[in-house]
Structure formats: structure tokens, C-alpha cells
Chain length 159, copies 2
DNA sequence: TATAAATATTTTAATTTTGAAATATTTATA
DNA sequence: TATAAATATTTCAAAATTAAAATATTTATA
């Protein structure tokens, strides 16, 4: 057990205080995600994971590899396979093979996919703006810096 | 589209800046969750959702209802049913009926469950302490306040 | 007291998610 | 050039997750 010094909250060690705030952070972000998920379903009959993949594809009009999606969305490879499969089946995305590298797939939104995403994107941005109204962007920025500071592990590449 | 005023980041409207930071926040928290999930599996052959449920049960030695677990963990009712079922099967938790209300179940950790959780809890707390080393607790606290400020929707109760 | 509304939970079907193993391909090295 | 190592992706089985519907019970109300 870590020594009970340097405590910002009376009676709690620094590590316990950090743990508590971390749990609250997860809870709060999950609440907002739940709200967004419900609105996507009710307004557009769309799921959050599909929306997230489409957003990543929209940001990459020249296409992005499966592993790129996995990296920027911080989900497993196999997960991306399933979601993209369904988007392709719905003709919202296409897979193509390039590069002379026959292992890699390049994923793009179709015209219908772009239309579908743009139809949702404006309202989605307004929702985030509404739900995070109280947030000071500078604080989030700082916290993001602090959060990513210890990620010697996973993916923290820019977009 | 929201007017392009009050911009903290050049070229980005306030809502776009907020959206971008929100996505980064989700990505960073997810990276840390992924790391914790992997360590739990490798060190203890345990999953994160099960650990989270056990943590909530440990904090409530007098028991907590299924709906209470659902609320504090911000997951659906049906989800809790499945996880608790597996914990009960493994004899780490028990369900009991009290209150004179035959709809409700009170869930508790068994002695084995308490032992199992305590065995993991210290190391888990160290992991969080390590992974969030760069985090200023005051900033997380402030951000939590800001995040929960707009949650007229979901659950933001204490505990 | 019936009946309706509210509450607590489980069930169900579909999707999401993970980690590990398998497959295919490319790159590096002996 | 073989062979090994690395890379990219899919497949697989199990668990997690959701939303909606179903079930059971309690509480409120006419």
C-alpha cells in the first residue's frame, strides 16, 4: 500500500483519490455516450459504433486501412471487421485493394455513405455541444495531455 | 451550423473544438481501460466488467440491488444480470431476497468473493496510480463537475 | 377492492467486443 | 533463394452490451 501522504482529499491517499476520480470520469463519459447512443437510435436508427466508424472514414476520404480504424477508434481488429462488413452490406462503405500489398484493405465511404453521415453529423455535433456545454475546452485539452502522457503502451497517434 | 465565433483554436468553431476534444477524451480513456483489461486478464485471468461489479459489491458490504449495480456502473439491467449470474456460478457472489419485496434481489460478495477481490484490488490501485501518474487530481475533479453538469438525463448519483 | 400505473428484474435477439488462433502476404536474414 | 520474422486481416468462441418486450410484484387510485 502506498504511503498516506500528499493527500488532496482528507483521509484519502493520493492513489485512492486518483482512483476515485478515475471511476467518476469513466461514469460521466459513459453517461454521455449512453445519451448519444439513444439519440442516434431514435433519430436515425443508427448505432454508435457504426457512427464512429463512419466518422473516421469521413475524416479520411482517401481511405483508411482496417488497422487504421482499429487504431484511431481504440478497438480490436476483429471488431472493426464486423462493423465494416455490415456497412459494406448496407452499401455505405467499400473495400478496395491497392498498394501492391494484398494483405491490406482500404476502406472508404460510398456516396450514399457520405450522404448518410453528413445527414447525421450536424445534429450530432449540436448534441455534443449541448451535452458538454459546461465543459471548458482548455481543461479537456489539458486533461487529454495528462491522460496521454503515460500511454507508453497503446495508440496515441494523431488522427 | 453554429456561428464561427468564440474560437479557442484557430479555424475551429467552439462546437468543433469541443467535439474534437471529446473524441480525444474518449480515445484516451479507452486506451487506459484497454491496458487495465489486459493486465487483469494476464495477472488474474479476470475480466474488467466482472472486476467492476465486484468493486461495487465490495463497496456495499450490506448488499446492493441489481438496479443499483446498473445505476452506479452505468450499464443496462440485462447486462448486470449476465455478469452477476457468472459471479454467482463461480461462487464469488450471492443473491438473496429481502425487504418483503419479492421483485428485488440483494447481491453480496461471498467470503471467497471478498478474498478474490482484495487479492486484486491493491495491485489494481497501483496500476491506476501508475497509468494516471501525470494526472492532476484537481483537474479531473473539475472536469467531472463540468461533465456531470449537463447530465439532466442519466445517473449521476453518488456512490 | 379492482384496476391501472409504477417498479424490479429477466429474457430475448441482435450487435458489439475482446483475445487468441489461423491465414495470407510481405520483408528481412542467413 | 530458402527460411524466419513481421505485418494485416479474418475467424472463432466466449463474454459483454444494448434496447425492447415479457414477467412478476408492489403501489396508487378510482
Amino acid at each position: 500500500m502506498v504511503a498516506n501522504v500528499d493527500q488532496g482529499i482528507p483521509g484519502l491517499s493520493a492513489s485512492k483519490a486518483r482512483l476515485k476520480l478515475w471511476i467518476q470520469l469513466l461514469r460521466n463519459t459513459r453517461s454521455i455516450e449512453t445519451e448519444i447512443r439513444g439519440r442516434l437510435r431514435r433519430e436515425f436508427n443508427e448505432t454508435l459504433p457504426r457512427f464512429d466508424v463512419m466518422a473516421a472514414l469521413y475524416k479520411n476520404p482517401d481511405g483508411i486501412m482496417m488497422s487504421g480504424l482499429s487504431r484511431v477508434l481504440v478497438v480490436s481488429n476483429g471488431n472493426v471487421t464486423g462493423i465494416v462488413e455490415r456497412l459494406v452490406k448496407d452499401q455505405l462503405a467499400v473495400r478496395s485493394q491497392r498498394d501492391g500489398d494484398r494483405r491490406t484493405w482500404i476502406i472508404r465511404l460510398t456516396t450514399a455513405g457520405v450522404e448518410h453521415f453528413e445527414m447525421m453529423a450536424n445534429l450530432h455535433e449540436q448534441w455534443i455541444d449541448e451535452l458538454l456545454q459546461n465543459i471548458d475546452p482548455d481543461h479537456v485539452d489539458l486533461l487529454n495531455t495528462q491522460l496521454s502522457g503515460n500511454l507508453k503502451y497503446g495508440q496515441d497517434k494523431h488522427d
